[in-house]
Symmetry: C2
């Protein structure tokens, strides 16, 4: 190649290893409104010249780039890592980049200072003449106070009669330095290109408590609306509704997932679509479009959001099967393929053919479905099995919906390989289900939570901890009973800023359809249950939600410190934000009392001896840096939630 043709030589400055960034900027890192974003990069050039660097950042639809100064943070080692920060105030797609330039005045200042200090009695008039050039150039750009400093210095340095000692004094002065830093031209400005994307969500995307219910078990949408004040009073932020659409009749499943439905069996709400309509419709027995709007308005009035469980599949009676057979998979013999995972078959459900040549109209139809419910007031979507639909579809549809309403939140209901779950988080899902349900020992819990809180996932994968779901009743709860429910509630609600309860959890429901199964006996998926807010665990749940709202340490993910407990049945950890330290100790054994000594490390920054308040009982204890005696028993307290006073 010929030497690059430019008026200026190619930049001598390198900007590398920016943070935070995902896959080189292919995906956006996530933050929430009000966050201070800490950024850093390796910034260096050849030679010994001094650099200056800034982070430049731009709000969504912002016309102007703002900038904050960066500072080196490893000066004692390499001096190449620069760090700074900025605050994000509005939701949407932010961008940031780094810009660096050669600081000619600082370089000159440093050289001159060393020469003057060496006191070699050499002629430094050449050096002074260099200073004059730099000062004159800056003066053309200077304003305000700084202008005076520069003008004065230029005058002294240019004055053939002024003694050198005076010239050095002036040239090396701190006020002049500040003025020159402000007004000197940025030489060889180099920017990281392209800028790094940063997706900012509303705070509830990070910090939320969900209450999940089947509307039909509560008497329909109007009845649910009537319970909103109570549910809000329990401290929940999101009222999460299982699908409320019409349900197919053909191949309908019976109670306990039997293949043949009885005449009164309501069918699975995931077998969506009937003569009454598909994903745009409300099941006539549950209510009307207006009822959905009313429920949303009431929820918003009580500070809550409504979440809809959205499943992208169709019953055998879904109108789209006849209106759009091209969206479904047909066999060579013309029959449609129902869902299956051999040898299991889901005869009541048809999957969409995402490879159809008509994929564009299929994508558009789903966008219409989402926007229909967004318009009704539903801003949260728990998406069923997103990992069996194309990644590009999700990336597209989430972006399209956010153009209409940036407050919409998507929770990925995906339990599959890590890489796939992570990809869904990267491409736009706001929150994600996790493996939490299956992590019941101290070792498992710490290993897994470290992955979420301290790995790269912390930049984009927001866990939402559900101790149970309508599909997952873990053996730990089956065999552990109420103390196990308490332990899991405390873990979910203190470790993760977002967590959720599926109604029935507060009643300690724990009978599986058969021993060894994770399915519930008499699952609400296949029959109508009569639900009420009468569970004995509700007072504790209300208190947990209060504690979460009062303690900022419980509203963040990556602030956990595991504490040694000398007993593997005790899981002890501190969560800490500036000014707020919460210490949790959970007895993982639902059967027996467990004794241990929890070690508080000095780095938590407590006093050597300090007082903690048990936020469940109000009791006060003296704790100390070092070992602290703890005894927890299933017939008394299953967990301590201690606030450092």
């Amino acid at each position: 190649m010929p030497a690059p043709k430019r008026s200026e030589a190619p930049s001598r400055i390198r900007i590398a290893k920016p943070a935070p960034v995902l896959d080189g900027g292919r995906y956006a890192v996530k933050r929430t409104v009000g966050d201070t974003v800490a950024v850093s990069a390796d910034i260096f050039r050849d030679g010994h010249e001094k650099l200056r660097a800034v982070v430049k950042y731009r709000a969504p639809d912002g016309r102007r780039w703002l900038e904050n100064e960066l500072h080196t943070v490893d000066a004692h080692i390499n001096g190449v890592r620069w760090a700074g920060e900025f605050t994000v105030e509005t939701p949407g797609r932010w961008e940031f980049t780094f810009e660096a330039w050669t600081d000619r005045w600082a370089t000159y200042h440093d050289e001159l200072r060393r020469k003057v200090e060496a006191n070699l009695d050499e002629d430094l008039s050449g050096e002074i003449s260099e200073g004059v050039v730099l000062l004159a150039a800056a003066l053309e750009r200077a304003e305000g106070d700084g202008r005076g400093s520069i003008q004065h210095a230029l005058h002294v340095l240019s004055d053939a009669g002024a003694p050198f000692a005076q010239k050095f004094d002036v040239a090396l002065g701190p006020e002049l330095f500040d003025a020159m830093e402000t007004f000197s031209e940025r030489e060889g400005v180099t920017a990281l290109d392209p800028a790094i994307p940063l997706e900012v969500d509303r705070v509830r995307a990070r910090f939320s408590a969900w209450y999940e219910l089947f509307p039909r078990s509560w008497g329909g949408l109007k009845a649910v609306e009537a319970r909103v004040p109570e549910i809000a009073g329990l401290g929940f932020d999101v009222l999460y509704l299982l699908p409320f659409h019409p349900i197919g009749v053909k191949n309908r499943k019976g109670r306990n997932n039997t293949l043949v439905a009885g005449p009164d069996d309501p069918g699975s709400p995931y077998a969506i679509g009937s003569a009454e309509g598909g994903h745009f419709a409300v099941h006539p027995e549950l209510g009307t479009q207006q009822d959905v709007r009313d429920l949303c308005r009431t929820a918003h009035h009580h500070g809550m959001d409504v979440a809809l469980d959205i499943a992208l599949n169709a019953s055998a009676d879904h109108p789209w099967l006849t209106e759009h057979p091209e969206w479904f998979q047909q066999r060579p013999d013309g029959t449609l393929k129902y869902a299956e995972n051999p040898p299991k078959r889901y005869q009541d459900i048809y999957n969409f053919n995402w490879d159809t040549p008509e994929w564009e109209s299929l994508w558009q139809a789903w966008l219409d479905v989402f926007l229909h419910w967004v318009d009704a007031g539903i801003k949260f979507y728990r998406v069923d099995n997103p990992h069996t639909k194309p990644f590009p579809f999700w990336e597209w549809i989430i972006s399209e919906i956010h153009k209409v309403d940036r407050d919409v939140v998507f929770l990925a209901e995906s339990f599959t390989r890590r890489a796939v779950m992570r990809e869904l988080g990267k491409l736009g899902f706001t929150q994600s289900y996790t493996y939490f349900t299956w992590k019941n020992s101290r070792h498992e819990m710490i290993e897994y939570f470290n992955e979420l809180a301290w790995g790269e996932e912390k930049e984009y994968f927001r866990p939402n901890f559900f101790p149970v779901t309508p599909d997952i009743l873990h053996a730990y709860l089956v065999h552990g009973g109420p103390p196990a429910f308490v332990a899991r509630l405390v873990l979910a609600s203190t470790l993760s800023p977002s967590y959720g309860i599926y109604s029935g959890f507060e009643n300690f429901e724990n009978v599986p359809v058969r021993e060894g199964s994770e399915e519930y006996m008499n699952s609400e998926k296949y029959e109508i249950r009569q639900r009420d807010l009468d569970g004995p665990l509700l007072p504790m749940i209300r208190r947990m939600n209060e504690i979460r709202r009062e303690n900022v340490a419980l509203q963040h993910l990556s602030n956990v410190f595991w504490l040694e407990g000398q007993n593997d049945q005790l899981l002890a950890y501190a969560k800490q934000e500036p000014g707020n330290t919460i210490i949790c100790v959970v007895n993982l054994d639902p059967h027996d009392a467990q004794v241990g000594s929890v070690t508080i490390p000095a780095h938590l920054g407590t006093a050597p001896v300090f007082v903690v308040e048990d936020l469940m009982t109000g009791a006060h204890y003296d704790w100390r840096i070092g070992a602290n005696y703890v005894r927890l028993e299933p017939w008394g307290e299953q967990a301590h939630i201690l606030k450092v006073l």
Copy 2:
């Protein structure tokens, strides 16, 4: 945005986290001719469909992409990591990428197998009809033996009279599977784009032994040429010459770096340029252009390369100062700035102004200098202080020189911040100087070598270990004497595939110009010494070079395992390639005997008890997995170099 307009839906396959790759492909990873390149990537899609994947690779100027199959390596965990390999046979810029597609037949085969095995007595004629479609499509592309299998299967599956049991047998057959894998169309092929660059050098870029000398101390180029057979006989690959250009007279330095030269002082060979010429010229007292060519030819004849120390600076008498004043930095008063690092000043040297508006002609001039010497036969360049010249300059000039001669090797003489040294390696320098000289304790050596051998640097930063240079005589050698020289020789030549000796090392030269200085007394940089190949360490050096050539384990970097020695004065390690294990134990204490027990771990794969040969003495010892007694003493053996027999 509207839904993307394409005939096919966007790819459902993701290819991420490819390895090896540097900075997302901005820089090339490095290998040498004959290497097998192990590659891997996360490859996955949504859903449950099975994938196939290949690595595609292309030789320099290759027209055709070749491909090798990839296989999953974490099937038991996530099943998303795929790995494979290919071999690089020619020097130059290779490229590789990954390609994956949905394996429709394997997916079909798996579903059908599970249904047949479940033996549910269901009608599978729909499934069979799907198979017919896949077989018919593949048949159109099939050739050879596979064609027969497919044709037969198509016949049986289409035959209304054939029993289902026979159809299943045929459809699930392994031969048919292989044929379908070969001939089925690749569905939804997705490639990583752009491809990843891979720079392949000749083997000597990785594995080399250098002998460094000042031609003037050996009687000039003709006299050096006469010693080539001896130096080659010592096992050196590269004869490295300090600059042989004319030296400036103005401001010439005297002996021991004094400011005023005496009438007979020859000056520093780094103060390049005089009335006799600049970087294109040969100092008349050292020889002629033809002598350089002769020396190169003789060296090549003896299997050696010649390296030139190239310093991009000029004496006060360099012709370019008058021919091209625009390439130098002028003060406002018109005077040129000489090199300085206040309070130090290098009045005999002028730096180039790399920010000159005439940078293009400056770059071109340096390219002409390099190509001049390449044409004379010099293929190795030890570049002086590359870290004070622009990064883009190096990236450009190395690439330009490689277009003319891909065998040229560049060694970066840079001792500065890690980030800068790494950048030079990334942008094209073939080998690099290191901090080796300053790593003299067990802890320092292990920590630093792990950085080189096991960090990302292993992909691009090839260390060249010099125990001393004309500028660096470490206190360890000053105070340790001959046993210290032996220890450093063994460490340099066994740990790093490339190492070098500066003449005088074999004579145990270790007198500093003053206590605490790393400069030599009577440095050859400022005076002419009379050198000869008479150092008492030469026999050991010859043997070390022999051992290195005979043992492939010593020709690679990232194959070291540190061995516990129960004594910090003993540094023990194994280096291992298939079929070749070398165990080194070095006594770091140059004054006293040290005793320890070196632990051989089971993972080295030796027999429980095995025989080692001391390659320096020929003695045989029984060693074992577990602890082995070692005693090393400065008055006997300072190090063991043991080969596992």
